[in-house]
């Protein structure tokens, strides 16, 4: 799960990590008020779940409350396009107004989970080359990124802060506050089940202080059950409405750009079905995993989600019944097709538990659909029906 920058900064503040003073605003008037409260120069920053906002025109300096008002008016409601949003961009619904800081240097500091075999642990990554082009640094000069793994049985130890501080070229006065930042970041990462915690840039101000100027925090979805306060930070406006509907139906759905809608059980098989559609010369409209324990109602809900994507020209159902029984899938399909007056052509491939019963039910239902036996055959038939 992702959260906004202003929410992430609140979390950092709660853990004693220095961040600029600031306030979120949903209207230009609120932005002006925030700037008046902060006094002096401010920065108005678009709040969307994507990076690269500055380059896309989503961050503007403001010398006065009136300028903050104007900046917010320009940014709010805009369709902000960055390298992380895709070509259609994301609509900006709120801005963060915060005090402007005079910056001497921009550093990079982050925590991630190293999942490689035998080394599973949390790792700090730091670089003197912080700022907007860190992705390029990772790609072209990975040696400029210093890594520091935290042994899970030992936990954080001060020498690690000294190591990172040396890599970042900090002076003697900055070391103590930096060690505090590092220690608290590790605590935050563990306590809140983060999957990514990034401060970029970690700024050194003109007067030599350390300041988390921008931050991004992602959470492990599997850990959310024990953090109700984090769940509350979810912003459904940032998610695709079809994906939100899917989440509510306990179905795993991700919208893609093609026109063959897929309904599959199991994530691996769902990905494979997408691959097969591509191999047959088509483009999948989505990833959809109905899961192992799907009921007829869930199948119907999944179907509604699929068919509400206007790009979909044909539906491919690929089920390998294990825990999920084919007769239950058929019941769901029949129910759904009746309730939503399905007009799209459909290819059905059923295999596995109770397959005979499932096929018989479909045959006798009077539904119009194409049957396929094999994996590839199913994909080919579906693609040809979109033409």
């Amino acid at each position: 799960m992702k959260i906004h920058e202003y929410q992430a900064k609140e979390l950092l503040r709660g853990y004693g990590i220095p961040v600029p003073r600031g306030k979120a605003a949903a209207t230009p008037d609120e932005a002006r008020e925030a700037a008046e409260e902060l006094q002096g120069k401010t920065v108005v920053k678009a709040q969307i779940h994507a990076g690269g906002r500055g380059k896309g025109g989503g961050v503007k300096p403001a010398a006065s409350p009136d300028e903050a008002f104007a900046a917010a008016r320009a940014i709010l409601g805009m369709q902000l396009v960055t390298h992380q949003t895709g070509p259609e961009g994301k609509k900006v619904r709120s801005v963060l107004v915060e005090e402007a800081s005079a910056i001497r240097k921009e550093l990079y500091l982050s925590l991630v989970v190293d999942r490689s075999k035998g080394r599973e642990c949390v790792v700090f990554m730091a670089s003197e080359a912080g700022g907007m082009d860190i992705e390029q640094v990772v790609a072209t000069a990975p040696e400029k990124i210093v890594k520091c793994a935290v042994h899970p049985a030992v936990g954080f130890s001060p020498f690690q802060a000294r190591k990172l501080s040396a890599a970042l070229g900090l002076n003697a006065e900055q070391q103590k506050p930096f060690a505090e930042i590092v220690r608290n970041l590790y605590r935050l990462f563990l306590e809140k089940d983060c999957s990514l915690l990034e401060i970029n840039p970690l700024a050194i101000t003109e007067d030599g202080r350390l300041l988390a100027l921008d931050t991004k925090i992602n959470f492990d979805d599997d850990g959310l059950y024990r953090h109700p306060e984090i769940r509350e930070l979810r912003d459904p406006d940032e998610e695709d409405p079809l994906e939100v509907a899917a989440k509510n139906a306990a179905v795993n759905y991700i919208k893609l750009d093609g026109n063959v809608g897929c309904m599959v059980n199991g994530a691996g098989l769902a990905m494979t079905t997408m691959d097969m559609i591509k191999m047959a010369g088509g483009e999948p409209a989505n990833f959809l995993d109905v899961g192992g324990g799907a009921s007829a109602e869930q199948i119907e809900k999944a179907f509604r989600i699929l068919t509400s994507d206007p790009n979909v020209k044909c539906i491919l159902v690929n089920i390998f019944g294990g825990i999920l029984r084919c007769d239950r899938v058929s019941a769901g399909l029949i129910q759904a097709a009746k309730n939503i007056e399905m007009k799209l052509p459909m290819v059905v491939r059923l295999q596995g538990t109770n397959v005979e019963e499932g096929r018989r039910m479909l045959q006798e239902s009077g539904l119009r659909f194409t049957v396929a036996d094999g994996l590839y055959e199913a994909a080919e038939k579906a693609v040809s029906l979109t033409r």
Partner: protein, 295 residues
Amino acid sequence: MAILFDHKSRVVVQGITGSEGSFHTRESVKLRTKVVAGVTPGKGGTEIDGIPVYDRVGDAVEKQQANVSGIYTPAAFTPDAIFEAIEAGVGLIVCMTEGIPVAEMIRVKQALKGSGTRMIGPNCPGITTPGAGKVGFMPNFIHKQGNVGVVSRSGTLTYEMIWQLTGLGIGQSTSVGIGGDPIVGSGFIDILERFEADPQTEAIVMIGEIGGTAEEEAAEFIRGQVTKPVVSFIAGRTAPPGRRMGHAGAIISGGKGTAEEKFMALERAGVLVEKNPAEIGRRVQEILKARGSAS
């Protein structure tokens, strides 16, 4: 012979009184699996289908000589269930539970280190050795006894592959689903190592997914230490970057973990890479024929 699970395996099911636990225990018994005990704290002294239920894993080990634990407990209780099974000294844990936080899995890996316990999963379909039984979700009807080892990160895609083999008359020595989470108890390498050492296994099918570097690490291992033929497929060639494809581990991030990278690494290691998963069974058939082996 087979790997990890055989005729000597005596299973204790943790979470046996839950709906998943009881259903799949019954299914596994139909495959002649020796389920000797169940554990649900607070329900010790009761029975399910004649299987004694205990409060503690230690009791199941002591009184019923259980040496394998199948875990179906809810995610919030599962790390504790795993620690208990390790402490009780079972040789193998097979954990089906989905949704364990990564931070908890880091602790689990620490607990497994240096213990005598090996773990499969979490979030996995389990392990089946045709003829000896199974722990987990794999449908009973897809298997056939034979000499191909199957190892996979997926669930239903694994059934698909096993069913393809069986349909061509090719049996399996053991099929292992290692699970789709970012951190798992056993990786490809742990399983490949055992298939290589198992005299019954003549060829190996390895099914990977996008995300992480497990397949690349496996390729490196295969190049150096696996002499048996390996046929492989990676799911998710068309998956967009930055989106989690169902499994917590299946995500392309920072341009890493793509299917193409994995295919290339495996090809370089001499693995027979098949990009059409509908053809995996036939590739295995050709290999076995070329080796003059009767499947």
